[in-house]
Symmetry: C2
Subunit: 119 residues, 2 copies
């Protein structure tokens, strides 16, 4: 796992995003144990408290669960993972459409624009 941060937004938010992606892309496999809070903190070069805060959010959305004194694990709920991935995709897509609409492109124009862009 490789972490990268910008200075625009809180570190812990970016940690949540990147860890979430790690799960959605199976970098952290289903049901697998993830590294300890302290280890992840070292890896990301952040304070353990900051990492803890990020992991708490992921736990709230059920992507990970805790076995006290044993560690944290990726959920075994494949459906949940797929749902979250799908929702994320939809959210990004609608957000993108909305952005483009604001500068005068409707959905079809936007799609045409993308086609052209990758040529």
């Amino acid at each position: 796992m490789k972490f990268n941060f910008d200075n625009e937004r809180p570190i812990y938010i970016q940690l949540v995003e990147q860890l979430r992606i790690g799960i959605l892309t199976s970098e952290f496999g289903i049901g697998e144990k993830i590294p300890s809070v302290r280890d992840l903190a070292m890896l990301a070069k952040v304070n353990p408290n900051t990492m803890q805060k990020a992991l708490a959010e992921l736990e709230e959305e059920k992507l990970i669960y805790t076995e006290r004194t044993n560690g944290k694990f990726v959920t075994k709920d494949v459906k949940l993972i797929n749902n979250i991935r799908d929702n994320l995709a939809k959210e990004k897509a609608y957000e993108f459409f909305s952005n483009m609409k604001k500068i005068g492109m409707d959905e079809n124009k936007t799609i045409d624009y993308l086609r052209e862009l990758i040529k």
Copy 2:
């Protein structure tokens, strides 16, 4: 001009974005005088300083210019406006592709996905 804010990001940043859109979509016409700092602040229900900060950013990117003691005006540089609109579109598009790539969709899959989404 109608302003809307979320609690995620600084107000002044959102002001910049929304004012910029207002110019790109000709809600504020080319060369036109825009309302005074205080009036805009009242309109958006923010502190004049917050509005001032937003306007300063727009001035830095040359979308507006100031006639001291007279007011602020939208640039008369049509090319600049078009450039900024084009860059904004490109930026949003690449950002979107990047987001989708992270969850496993390449450019072509992404475009197919959008086609399906608007059906």
